[in-house]
Amino acid sequence: MSPPPHPRHNPGPQAAALPGGLPRRRVQQHPGPLWQLLASASFRFALFFALLFLLAGLAFSGVLWWGTAGALERQIDSAIRADAVALAERWRDGGDPAVVDAVGERLALDAEDQTLYLLLAPDGQRLAGNLARLPEVYQPDAQWYGMTVERDGAQSEARLYVLTLPDNSRLAVGRDIGEKIRLRALLTEGLAWSAGVAILFAFLGAWMLRRALEERLAPATTTAALIANGDLSQRVPLAGREDEFERLGQSMNTMLDRIAHLMEGVRGVSDAIAHDLRTPIARARSRLEEAAEGSDDPEALKGALERGIADLDNVTRVFQAVLRIAEVEAGARRAAFAPLDLVPLLEDAAELYGANAEEKGQTLATDWPAALPMTGDRDLLLQAVANLLDNAVKFTAPGGTITLSAGWEEDAVLLRVVDQGPGLSAADRGRVGERFFRADQSRNTPGSGLGLSLVRAVAQLHGGSLWFEDGHASAGDDAAERQHGLAVCMRLPVA
């Protein structure tokens, strides 16, 4: 049995799923030029506006028509009817002769030679008027007729009103409307011309609109295409106009800046991991290698192994910190948010690190109100305060004072850790909080350079911010000996 020629025609149970999918995919794969045109939003906008324009033109022509040609027609009809009614009055007063007189009178007065009359006796005899006969398609119940009349050797159109008088004689009153028809033709011609021009303008306008839209969108599209090709340094060129396209370009650029910043962060982390993890790993490796090859002294061997383990533990800690920061920065940890009072937490932190400060001969001063209720992640907040206190203890000289304070600032808690360490230069302040950044003065103190990164990430997770100020200016007059100190401020919104 040969296989079916086309999988689409396979009558198997799974065939039912196919027909829906296949044609649609095909349309997307091979869009024709017309489909492409219809799919273009700018074309559809333009088409819409062209149609709107034409619709407006049509309405305008309609009103114009009704107001000119229509009005003329209505005017003629009412004049005919009035004339006919007047003649019928005459007949009632004086019978046929009176009508004959009146018709004669009117024809004599009609200088433009537009009026038509005909009075027929009941037997069909023509009694008066300038019309040769009644319309051929005369019907007893109809009153209005249009007919072709021969006048002065020329064909002309006429409009007639036929009235049957009580004695069955018939009276026809009419007007030659040849002039009017010529006028109407003229008007029609004019409207047709203007419609043509309007259509032309509509499509020209649509085309221009489409061009303009595409032109304004082109920078964004080209930039996006270049970025898709891998050149992240591209930005949408801005023309300096304050319009929607400009705003689109601006938001695209902001987004790209943010992405570039994040990419840089990732690159920075991998560089830093490469540096800060490679070093202890290399150290551990060389120690273990040396131990494996070198001495037979069991004590030395054991020492080398233990140091290797300690190095690996350090690697694990740095690694954990990097992962923790990434976790916090991704905002994934909001799950652990709960209402809490910051005061017991600060007391715990002060108690934990106060002992360390005391060991170093430092004083830890504290200051906060009775309660600081807020919403947050207890462990992360303690970690942040702990990191700040740990830094402060590390950088303050023996005998110095560290201050941990917290208080309300509008609807946020302002937390400050002030030390009497060497402080930070303005340049370093901008870089502190970057992963693995360590100011030059701190190179000799232990630490991974991740502490403040985590604090900043925690602050941001709580919708807050972190910044640095000078500690105090009070320590010593000698400029060389002066220790500016550093105040790390963390603002945490309550909600």
């Binding site: 800690r317 994934a332 940890r333 652990a336 360390n356 207890r378 970690q383 702990a386 990191n387």
Partner: protein, 226 residues
């Protein structure tokens, strides 16, 4: 203690099993969750040490949930490479009693295993804890050594209480941080050591026999004999 170890990594499993056996425990080691559940439900163990992620369709969390659903309350210690706090919470919510992140020091694992396996009986709340000549009155919160009153701060009292409740067992720094301070975080420095050494000074001043011992590479232990 009779311990069931469910760990799919053969090397880690072998290492943990050997260590626990050297510490005097009997260890059954299985490699997947299905077998682990079968054994845990069918036999009596004093403690389960479970990897969080296991092959065989039943992971550590599922295993504990099933056991707890059957009314089995054997203490469970999770071992996991998943360090996220949410993961830890998930493990404890499922019925785990402790959670240790890989890589870990064996001393930390052993200390936690022994702490879990010999938990004090809940139905007999002691009012006094005693070790050698050191006495702790849990009601009046008074500490005396050889009849002499020693002033300690509330946190130091809790620290001492925890050590004494686990007398003769190693208590690691992280365990103290978790149990006495009730925070899960990385203290960066030796904060716990500072607190323990302060407490030690208060207790041992004037006595020639130290009670709080430092266990190298592990933590602290309170015991009568040196």
């Amino acid at each position: 203690m009779r311990i069931l170890l469910v760990e799919d990594d053969a090397e880690v499993g072998r290492f943990v099993k050997k260590g626990l056996q050297e510490a005097g425990h009997t260890v059954e080691h299985v490699l997947n969750g299905r077998e682990g559940l079968f054994m845990a439900a069918g036999e009596n163990f004093d403690l389960l040490v479970l990897d969080r992620m296991l092959p065989g369709g039943i992971d550590g969390v599922k295993l504990v949930e099933t056991l707890r659903g059957q009314g089995n309350h054997t203490p469970v210690l999770f071992l996991s490479a998943l360090a996220g706090v949410d993961e830890r919470v998930k493990g404890l919510k499922a019925g785990g009693d402790d959670y240790l992140v890989k890589p870990f020091a064996f001393a930390e694992l052993l200390a936690r295993v022994e702490a879990l396996g010999r938990r004090p009986a809940v139905d007999a709340p002691a009012t006094r804890l005693k070790i050698a000549d050191l006495e702790l009155d849990l009601l009046s919160r008074a500490v005396t050594r050889a009849g002499k009153r020693i002033d300690v701060q509330p946190r130091e009292f809790r620290l001492l209480e925890h050590l004494m409740r686990h007398a003769g067992q190693v208590v690691t720094r992280t365990m103290l941080l978790e149990k006495v301070w009730d925070y899960h975080f990385d203290p960066q420095t030796n904060v716990i050591d500072v607190h323990v050494s302060r407490l030690r000074q208060k207790l041992d001043r004037g006595f020639d026999k130290p009670l709080i011992h430092t266990v190298r590479n592990a933590g602290y232990m309170i015991r009568a004999e040196p």
